[in-house]
Symmetry: C2
Subunit: 556 residues, 2 copies
């Protein structure tokens, strides 16, 4: 039998080191450039994706009860023509539970090794998966290649290494010798077995299907818990591909493929809660909207509930050495994948007194004008706009943009479609920007998913900071941003966001997308505000997914 | 300012090593023998205890609303005459929250160091605390000295070291440098702050007040969470002493003493749920009965709920090299502190076919007779019985014994008081043993707290194992026991208990009390069966009590 841990030990140990050091590291390739890949890899991946279209997707599920599908590419506007076997919720959970019995007895390190093998196989399928991601989420190719590729593989490996480290802190055995009172020494042989807690249900998200799903899948499998993956009904294909790869590997390795099953559903007939009501359910990993996430946190609080939902991510704009560079960086964040990322900025807090720069204070109105110009610049060139913004995942986002623009608040920048050079039918929209006042900002105290942002005028910089941090604490924030050249204000900013339980990036301008989040380095979601409970990846993300059962036997 | 971590670094590091190795280790003194303590320590401790009697206990509480007390010694039958200020629940929680603000900003290592200092001060007060424990719980002196002394201090240090190790896995800062695409290198300075989650309410248990409370108090304080300790209304004094010592230390170290507060109540007017309904409540650590524990798990599932409740601990008696030695060891477990320990055995599974020994199969009836004789032998001598059994904590336990004896099932051994040589009014009882059949054992599927046990006759050894493990899985078990000389049956036993999520001790006979549980070595409570969710001490016990908030700042 393959020693899966030995095969991947160097990778896992290196990832554990990266988790501990938290600098920049990745073993995966973020760029699709031909020079980083075997000859023909890109074309082969694209062909593999195209071969999937217009036919049933081959994956077996427990208790089949029909087929569902209906995915439509946000880029082409055309149906993918793929359908999937839908399994009965109870049959899926029963099968997962049955599969888990033998898996629980596999040595933790071997489970970790097998998960690492799965990661390498996912990595081998990254071109095909990037196309599947594009044509379900609406991401541009580069976004999809990095997003469903290296960035998500990194997060998966990060969680896997964290699970390994947590499990490795429990020795397999111990020798216990001590005397009680004046008696001779007692001698016990102790053994510690790590046991899973039950079946995990992983809800993958519609716009970034792999980023949270890979860590959850791998952390669960590594700790011995069978996994049922429930994709978003509009973004099934990339998830189904990953699950099928996993099932093939499990089968090949001699395990029950139902350790990793796919549970598809439709918006009209969702399966998620039926899965969670099954007595075998022990864990739910959810990425998606705040309303349903909060419902799961309440209704299934007796399970382990790991959520990443949404917040109202703020930018506090206090002062800048190079204001236009700052506005360009922020505008990039407003455009990137049409702000359909959990780290996209939404609420831009600008003091009414203006923003201080080396050239003097730039008045509020001018800051706004230059911000709008910066956004305009990013979307002026269709090819640039296409690569940057991609398309809108959900047709309802267009309605949301329209409703917001037609509302009571001044429009600083209207949204409009841009002409996608490759996909003339792509569902596109450039950022809508409204203006709000700090004391009339209820609209900004929730996430508007898509290219919708608010400039919030605050009486002064301290009011801006206070408002941004209060909203993070009370309504959630996954990423927050601040720009300041004032060291004292910087310190106050760091302390205020820390006190609000929200992470913050300061003066992010040069040479990186502001909302890039690095596995092994950035902790993603704090668990201290309403944006979710699941931190990628802290010890708390993994430490409860297994428990210790011990035996002690007297004698030699 | 004192560098508390430096002062105790060697102790904490050694404890962390012990946690990782899990052999026998303790830095505390388990024996009250004069040779291990400074001259006069015992007498001084006893005098300190006696000086507390018959007067108000001096401890300040937020929002005082009167005084409660009413503790009665189970040994003397006399009221202690001590009363305590009762605080208003909201005032206590508000004060704890306020105190937490500055504490959250203290470096984690300094909080850990201060907690270690608190442990050493508790250790310095161990004689007085042992007397307070005796005269509230009913424990004998030796039991109380070890139980509220070294054994609980060990568990506290174990949890503290685990919290330290978990927090130390997050570096304080990191330097992030990487290039995106073809751009120059981006450079971010990252900082990771560990933040508390909120106020923790620790429910201490009536019979073993320090064992679970010390780990919970220290894990919470170390991770930055203010702690409100709610003692059992019949066992306030030893807890109040420990809290007062902690408040004195906090004040002396320059912190708000309301980081550690005492919330006393009465059985008629309990305060626990009011504390937990306060919006500052984030964590509950509960040790006590299964009904209230399960209620907390359900009603407060939105908090972090750590419970240790109760199970129906089994002994599977399959075969023995020295049957009388085995029965003596089991009988000792039935007697020790009148089976008022979470690890006390209750359900003795004996195959109808008898127990195999080198001298042949001992028939069921003879096994029972020899077990009864073994119990009789332990309690024959009043001085031995007194040291071993102590007294009944709760007067209602006598009613429970009576009701059980008068029930429908055959009494194998009646319970009777024994004459305590030192305390003629002590509330004493020797073990009651009933006989049940495996297929009519509902009575045994819950904990009977106190000296009540069942011999359950099983059709054969496999039925005994199946019944014991099914009950552990379905009704809970904190400790389970098995005796077998058959290697194949031993393997089946270990696997069956592991599959049931229950820890098991096998062939525990010689030189130790069978239900002794060693900090740093034994994981206590698995979290996989209904006996509780809080394992002393795994990573899961500490990893969620803090979260990470990060900042990243561009530039050098």
């Amino acid at each position: 039998m393959t020693d899966w841990f030995a095969k991947h030990a160097a990778l896992i140990e290196r990832a554990a080191q990266a988790n501990a050091e938290r600098g920049a590291w990745s073993p995966f390739v973020e760029s699709p450039s031909a020079k980083h890949h075997p000859p023909g890899a890109h074309a082969a991946g694209r062909a593999a994706f195209e071969a999937l279209l217009g036919r049933p997707f081959e994956i077996d599920v427990p208790g089949p009860v029909g087929r569902v599908g209906g995915e439509v590419s946000p880029l082409t506007g055309e149906a993918l023509g793929v359908d999937y076997a839908r399994g009965d919720a109870a049959a899926i959970m029963d099968a997962a539970r049955r599969a888990g019995a033998a898996w629980a007895d596999v040595a933790p390190a071997q489970r970790v090794g097998l998960c690492a093998e799965l990661l390498t196989r996912w990595a081998g399928d990254v071109f095909a998966n990037a196309y599947a991601t594009m044509h379900t989420t609406g991401q541009g190719f580069l976004t999809a290649f990095a997003g469903s590729g290296a960035n998500s593989l990194d997060r998966g490996l990060e969680a896997l290494a964290m699970a390994h480290v947590a499990m490795a802190q429990v020795p397999a055995t111990a020798d216990f010798r001590r005397a009680f009172g004046r008696g001779p020494e007692a001698h016990l042989q102790k053994r510690y077995r790590l046991r899973p807690v039950g079946v995990a249900v992983v809800f993958a998200c519609g716009t970034y299907p792999a980023w949270n799903a890979y860590p959850a899948i791998l952390a669960n499998l590594a700790c011995g818990n069978p996994v049922v993956v429930k994709p978003h009904p509009a973004t099934i294909l990339p998830v189904a591909m990953a699950v099928r790869t996993g099932r093939e590997l499990l089968r090949e390795a001699g395990f029950d493929a139902n350790l990793l099953t796919l549970a598809v559903d439709t918006r009209e007939d969702p399966v998620g809660e039926a899965l969670l009501r099954h007595p075998a359910a022990a864990i739910v990993d959810f990425t998606g909207g705040q309303a349903f996430g909060a419902h799961l946190e309440r209704a299934f609080a007796h399970l382990q509930v790991y959520t990443e939902t949404a917040g109202c991510n703020a930018v506090v704009l206090e002062s800048a050495d190079d204001l236009d560079a700052v506005l360009r960086a922020v505008a990039h964040g407003l455009c990137l994948f049409s702000a359909q990322m959990c780290t996209s900025p939404q609420n831009l807090w600008v003091p009414a007194e203006g923003v201080r720069t080396p050239e003097g204070v730039v008045p509020f109105e001018q800051v706004v004008a230059r911000l709008v110009a910066a956004v305009d610049a990013w979307v002026a060139e269709p090819a640039v706009a296409a690569g940057l913004c991609g398309a809108l995942h959900d047709p309802r986002t267009q309605d949301a943009i329209r409703a917001l623009a037609d509302g009571a608040y001044p429009v600083l920048r209207p949204s409009a479609p841009y002409a996608h050079p490759d996909f003339p039918n792509a569902r596109t929209a450039t950022p809508l920007i409204l203006q709000l006042e700090a004391d009339d900002r209820a609209l900004a105290q929730r996430e508007h998913f898509g290219p919708m942002a608010f400039v919030i005028r605050a009486p002064d910089r301290d009011a801006a900071l206070a408002g941004a941090t209060a909203d993070a604490r009370d309504h959630g924030a996954i990423a927050s941003y601040a720009y300041t050249t004032d060291d004292a204000f910087l310190d106050r900013t760091l302390d205020a966001f820390a006190a609000a339980g929200a992470s913050v990036g300061v003066n992010l301008v040069r040479h990186l997308p502001i909302n890039f989040t690095a596995a092994f380095s950035d902790f993603h979601v704090t668990g201290l505000n309403p944006a979710g409970t699941a931190c990628l990846t802290d010890l708390a993300f993994v430490a409860r997914r297994f428990r210790v059962v011990q035996s002690k036997v007297e004698g030699a």
